[in-house]
Amino acid sequence: MEYTLLILLLPMLTFIGLGLFGMKLRPAVAGCIGTLSLAVTALLAYMTAGQYFLMPRVDGAYEKLLPYNFDWLHFTENLQISLGILLDPISVMMLVVISTVSLMVHIYSMGYMKGERGFQRYYAFLSLFTFSMLGLVVAPNIFQMYIFWELVGVSSYLLIGFYYTKPEAIAASKKAFIVTRFADLGFLLGILLLSFFTGTFDFEALTSGDTSVFSGAAGVTFMGASVMSWALALIFIGGAGKSAMFPLHIWLPDAMEGPTPVSALIHAATMVVAGVFLVARLFPLYIIAAPEVLVGIAYVGAFTSLYAAVVACMQTDIKRVLAFSTISQIGFMMVALGVSGMGGHEGTGYMASMFHLFTHAMFKALLFLCAGAIIHTIGSNEMSRMGGLRKYMPVTHITFLIACLAIAGIPPFSGFFSKDEILSATFSFSPVFGCFMSFVAGLTAFYMFRLYYGIFWGTPAKHEHTPHEAPKSMTIPLMILAIITVFAGFIPFGQFVSSDGQPYTIHLNLGVAIASVVIALIAIGIATYFYKSKCDIPERLLNMFPHFHRAAYHRFYIDEFYLFITKRIIFNCVSRPIAWFDRHVIDGTMNGIAYVTQRASVLIRGLQSGQVQQYAFVFLLGTLLIVLLVVLI
């Protein structure tokens, strides 16, 4: 499968081409070049997927292919970075997800970004992002993953800050980069630890299930935990940063300052699931070497999903609701990985996580693109400016509804199947955990329908001009994604992706399925009652708990806490004193030495006056002193 190299090369060349010569092209031409090159990339990705999954299985599992792998940099005899392409079920699945969503976003942006200043730059950055993300998922070693991990971080930074004259966008892009960079420090240290004890960066060796690979770490402990646990926990911190897990989630809601298609691509469907992908990629290692870290991951994911769902219920900016919903859904995926075991029924969680990653990418991208269409015509993100839009925007309305039903977990939409698998995996891990996650799933249905009714039903807000449906270039991607959202649930996902590679047939756990659907329906019912037409119950409820409401609206003041740390502590209590110390103490010492030297020379200067009488006097005095000394002693 040598042509897979083109999947990476095409977006990269497009980036270089548009980056260098984009300004000389007409915007539409640049857009077409970007979109066409991505269409080819997507086609190649589908070809790869088709060819890969039709390959005969070896021992029941799909073979891992390594069509390219060349040396890039040597560190030590064992540790060498190579760049290559690894094809296995999850990377092929990710290729399909990324190229599909990216293609949709490319087409959609032709309409959405029309007439924007820097249209060519936008497409160049989109290509850069797609290239980096594709490079990340096909990485055959953890260092290549880190390289592309940083590259997606930068492309995300550039795209969030696309409107570079807007102060909020600048602040948001900076925040996103620094928070993820902080998490990446953990990732880097994790890689260093892991590679030191295993002597390899290769996923193949790390995840082979062979315990001899980390025999070097046996018995090495640090603060009560084995060194492998430390390494894997640190690596998870990197993943938690990119995947916006609590408490590193703070950058994602702010990242919504970027253009909406970018939010759909990067901050909903692809980059934010990189953390999930990372854990999935190292899953066999987690299972053998550090199962306790996996449990930790499950708890982090569960808490994050609840936290984000509660906050999502209170937000009024539609993109922020979707952002918190994304955080919550990624929490679901993390939980699924955390509770999963290895092989067969035990490994349901792993399969469910990947399945949910797949379906979520489609319906969340759809939700964001719908939101984009709405923002495009309304000119605001605030729910209060919307209402009653279903009459004006039929296509957006229907596709948004489909996506809402999918995320709420209503059959037969795709979200139902994947979420049901996650829930049944959590129930088999622990019933309490299962109930907890079912409750969060109910909350999901509630806040999504709150959003849906707020936008499309209720009394229309006053608009300067009548809202209208988005142009074809924007509605067609919506329709395509909606179709995928409807049917993706019927893909026999377990046949392709499972924890041990063996085909796994998904059995609908009827009890869990019925219970979760009932919960979702109840939540939707409540949302309908509250928000479909005017109703004062939500208002009254909020007034009953004013503190809770305010805290949730302000995202429980986590951002303020971070601001305090960075501004007050780092900036004012560390950096300023250090800078002062440098200028006044260290440099002061240097200047002091110079000053003392100068003063001393002024003092001694008198001795070199050039007056012979003075010299004679000193000479005599000196001789006298010596004579005296000699006589006395």
Binding site: G161, K174, L185, A594
Partner: protein
């Protein structure tokens, strides 16, 4: 005659040529030709060097030559290169070349400026090709003196103070160095100044214990070793553009290179024994410089403190005492030289237009001068270690290398050094956000123009070099690694 001597001969010829020039055109012609020749020469040398190595030549130094200079003391003019010096020569020639172009329109006393500039180049190139301690020291001094005049005459701001401070502190370093060199000469008992011959002698450990700190600090002053780094912010801030470039880009590398070649190479036992003191100091440099950079408001101060941090990493890696970290140290010298030169070039160009370096008085430059702004973003990304640009490969090699030391002290220091990647991101993005993005702060800035051809040329050359190393690091890393490996009695 050995062709390596051309590295010294070309600047000498330039110097002679400059004496005879009458107008700006001739000056430019001579400088452009000379620096291009140097660049070509360095490129040819690199190819020849790699060719020789691929052909299986495993001599420690290639293209060696030697001529007696002062027989009673066994001082020779002996030259030769290994992978480390080839990398440094390549760096120096790129920076001299681009520095010439950034000074294309220099107005006050251009002839004298370029005269001193050439003298500086003689010192730099001579230093990197010497294999004789005495010649090396002589070239080192040749490189330092012109700095005083270049800053004192062509500088800006508190230039006399800065020039004096820089010269005195560096001279203080040289004094220690001279004592150290004499110490090596007598303690080794070999009565030779040749580095390779000295390395075969064993300097008694009692002697090493006091010679090593002398030489390490002596060179370390130039490599911005904490707490002897304070000449750097003032010096860089006052120096004219090309001098800042050459100073931060190449001269500071003289320090790192010297520590490597003399202090560690000749006194490995003491280096190992005393390394903890210097690891502490350099570890402090790395974070301390980065934290200081966060609150600066002058573009050049930000960059100077950033250099303290990055150069601290060079010395830190050298002391980590293994092949990988040392290879990383040399790569970091190369990478830092290129990107800091790019930074200072851009800052000079921006300052030439806005007449301020205070980031609070500027903003929204992306709209006004997109070329310079994009260049600045690229330099910033290289500085914060974006993969695909040179900073990443160098830093990662250092971190992986440093992490191979398994004891707690080294581990802790490595982790502390690693945190600099986050702090670097903070100060870089802060500057980029304030300076380039946002609304235009000063209305007068709206009339400013973007870069002209010679400025663009210099910036593009530097960016190509940075991206070249970042995208295909293997040849550099192998070239350096081989020399580190063969020189080293690990």
């Amino acid at each position: 005659m050995n062709f390596l001597s051309l590295f010294v001969l070309i600047p000498v010829l330039m110097l002679c040529g400059l004496f005879m020039t009458r107008n700006m055109k001739q000056i430019r012609w001579i400088c452009a030709t000379g620096s291009s020749l140097l660049l070509i020469l360095a490129a040819v040398l690199t190819f020849m060097y790699i060719g020789e190595r691929n052909a299986g030549n495993t001599e420690a130094m290639l293209f060696t030559a030697s001529a007696v200079w002062y027989a009673p003391l066994n001082i020779h003019y002996s030259i030769g290169v290994d992978g480390i010096s080839v990398a440094m020569l390549l760096l120096s020639s790129i920076i001299v070349f681009t520095g010439t172009f950034t000074s294309w329109k220099i107005e006050t006393m251009p002839k004298e400026f370029f005269l001193w500039f050439c003298l500086l180049s003689i010192g730099v190139f001579g230093f990197f090709i010497s294999t004789d301690l005495f010649t090396m020291f002589m070239f080192y001094e040749i490189a330092l003196i012109p700095m005083y005049l270049l800053i004192g005459v062509w500088g800006t701001g508190k230039k006399e103070y800065a020039a004096m401070k820089l010269t005195l502190m560096l001279m203080g370093g040289s004094a220690l160095l001279l004592v150290g060199i004499l110490g090596i000469y007598f303690a080794s008992g070999a009565s030779t100044m040749n580095l390779l011959e000295l390395a075969e002698q064993h300097i008694p450990e009692v002697m090493q214990r006091w010679i090593f700190p002398l030489t390490f600090i002596g060179f370390g002053v130039l490599g911005a070793l904490f707490p002897f780094h304070t000449w750097s912010p003032d010096g860089h801030a006052s120096a004219p553009t090309a001098v800042s470039m050459l100073h931060a880009g190449v001269l500071m590398k003289l320090g790192g290179y010297g520590c490597f070649r003399v202090a560690i190479f000749l006194m490995p036992e003491a280096a190992k024994e005393l390394s903890w003191i210097f690891i502490l100091l350099t570890g402090i440099s790395v974070v301390y410089g980065a934290y200081s950079a966060i609150v600066q408001t002058d573009l050049k101060y930000i960059n100077a403190y950033s250099s303290v941090s990055h150069c601290g990493l060079v010395l830190f890696a050298i002391l980590m005492y293994n092949e990988t970290a040392m290879t990383g140290a040399v790569m970091q010298m190369l990478s830092h030289g290129l990107m800091t030169a790019l930074f200072f070039a851009l800052i000079g160009m921006i300052y030439g237009r806005t007449h301020t370096r205070d980031i609070r008085e500027m903003g929204g430059l992306m709209k006004i001068m997109p070329f310079l702004a994009v260049g600045y973003v690229i330099a910033g990304l290289a500085s914060l270690g974006l993969p695909g640009l040179s900073g990443f490969v160098a830093e990662m090699t250092i971190f992986v290398g440093a992490f191979q030391n398994a004891d707690v002290f080294h581990r802790v220091m490595t982790v502390i050094a690693c945190t600099s990647i986050v702090i670097t991101a903070v100060y870089i993005l802060r500057v980029v956000g304030k300076l380039l993005y946002g609304a235009v702060v000063n209305e007068h800035h709206k009339q400013l123009t973007d870069a002209v051809w010679y400025e663009r040329f210099a910036v593009i050359v530097l960016i190509i070099a940075i991206a070249g190393i970042g995208l295909a690091p293997l040849w550099v890393s192998d070239m350096i690694h081989f020399s580190v490996d063969s020189l080293w009695p690990f």
